[in-house]
Symmetry: C2
Subunit: 401 residues, 2 copies
Amino acid sequence: MSEIEKWIERLAELAVWGANVQPGQIVLVTSCVGKEDLTRLVAREAYLRGAKYVDVLYWDVWLKRARVELAAEDTLDFVPPWLAQRLYWLSDEHGARITLTGPQSLEALRDVDPARAGRDLLPRQKEGSEVLNRMTTNWCLVPAPTRDWAASVYPNLPEADAYRALWEAVAHVCRLDADDPHTAWETRAGELRSNAERLTDRRFDSLRLHGPGTDLRIGLLPSAGWIGGSFLETVDGIRHHPNIPSEEIFTTPDPDRVDGYVSATMPLSYAGSLIEGIRIEFSGGRAVRIDADEGADALRAIAAKDEGASRLGEIALVDDGGRIGRLGTVFFDTLLDENAASHIALGNGYEHPVESPEDRARINRSGVHMDFMIGSAELAVDGITPAGDVAPVLRKNVWQL
Amino acid sequence: MSEIEKWIERLAELAVWGANVQPGQIVLVTSCVGKEDLTRLVAREAYLRGAKYVDVLYWDVWLKRARVELAAEDTLDFVPPWLAQRLYWLSDEHGARITLTGPQSLEALRDVDPARAGRDLLPRQKEGSEVLNRMTTNWCLVPAPTRDWAASVYPNLPEADAYRALWEAVAHVCRLDADDPHTAWETRAGELRSNAERLTDRRFDSLRLHGPGTDLRIGLLPSAGWIGGSFLETVDGIRHHPNIPSEEIFTTPDPDRVDGYVSATMPLSYAGSLIEGIRIEFSGGRAVRIDADEGADALRAIAAKDEGASRLGEIALVDDGGRIGRLGTVFFDTLLDENAASHIALGNGYEHPVESPEDRARINRSGVHMDFMIGSAELAVDGITPAGDVAPVLRKNVWQL
């Protein structure tokens, strides 16, 4: 068995453990062409745990390319209705979800019109955030290399070496090299939870993030806490790790109190489109000006998807205690990159960090949830108390609390 | 561009022409891992014709293997409900369907329990025959080689040569080498239509098929005609070629008047399971004894799916005028093999060959439709008139009418 094969086996086991698949559950798997090996082992692991049926969709970004390039303008927002029916069915069944993240290929949409590409966000579905907030499903995201993706991360390596290098990085950041990856993640989760609790206890009214190209104030909801340690519990009490790896602590901000400007510190691949050099100006919570060096029209199309797509649904802080940021690699996979650097997300907000019904009613709602990375060693994060006092929160990615 | 790439391009064009995809239509594509190249070009061709959305499912028989090997006994018949919703949605939308036939791999299910394998017939769905009979969708099946399938058809060739050989055979039998494959198929369709009309005009009461291991009498419905020439018309008048290639003429028999015994002349791969050396005894229309050299339990599980699964839904005659039978190759793909030799099908009957409402009410109903080949140069086919006179129909695969 090759080293890659061993990693695939361990990651499959970890994904099914992360989702905490229960006997008798339906398991939806979101995969794509090029990830067959991991997908098949995930299915085996899920059946070994007693899954009733493992329902895999293999997406293919080259089919999206054909659509974005050739389909009529007025059809590009169309989503087949069975995709929503499938997701609501899973929610009604209290099933599990496993998503294999990372772009199939960064080349497929490279030379298409970004404004058209930004209209087709599949396999992301607008019902996804709603079902997530119902807490009826236990789920886990893990990164899954493809050869084409690896070639974009390591463009100077021969294809086989790039693929090996990406698997090596994934194995490292997913802690597959630990004697017991489960324990490694439980331990790391404990650290993140304690960081989150310290920040929650300060009950800041808002945060100020400032550094090169960024000076942004983000209002916080009074009853919102910070969540870290990457585990959730379903309404049935099934504890699960939604993200492996997870190195962030996050909360749901006040969608009406975001002001200033922000510059992304990393490019990102969103639903197949590459978006680079994002610069956004906010006023009264709304993104009033959206620019990017590449893919600006895709970004504008995403932010125009609905009313909430131009407001924030998440702010997350990442310190230097994780394994991803230290690699200094841009992965073009939000799951990896968002756990390397502090980030914010346009679109839907999570309910579980927010306690009071009044605050929950104020959470931003959208069919979109698009994270982008704004953190770096140069980004200073301050907390501002309700009285207006300022306290340092992060400096050079180190906690100041 | 390699020769295989040229064939893929021509076959994609032919499939979309065969289905006669209309501007604004939804197009469902049934494909599997290993057929990405043809799938993507089919999508491009469909969008070029104005398709609204090309909805592709890539199946993976290795996922079925994990299920058949590991899932609990009482879950094996489960089918996720969204698959039926998707098909009914297509029917309501009057969309198009393109299916890429041929097994992804004959190895995946080789050593699993055939009785368990026979319970999971996906991607075949029981609603498929019902939607077909509604005539709301225009559709086309074409064969699509994979490397693993090719290795099973040509076990003595190196992998690359086997793949090329299978593409060469597919190109030949799909008449991709014709100056204009459309005209080639229209011409061949005309010949088959004329053969079908000659046989319909005889208004036989039943057929007798006899040869080595076979002596079977099949009753015909009085108002059933023979159909050939591989085209259908939807309720909207969209003319399409459901099968490319098509070399058969067929009808829907009387499900209560089938008596005798029959032996298959070819192995077959059905929903991933290999079934070889089929021998079935019929009495009063029902298969009362089912045997096979390999996969007998899979075959019995299929015939036990519902009441109609053990009665006949189709009888088809194939003469030696086509291109497939002459190759003498067993393809393990029903679309190819059923157009090489006369065959019968257990399960659902087609409505369109049957005229009178009384006869339509008698057609066999089932969620299954499983063709198997019984034709050979040694099989004699006779027609028996209502008065009991016997007339030769096929001898050594040559028409006697």
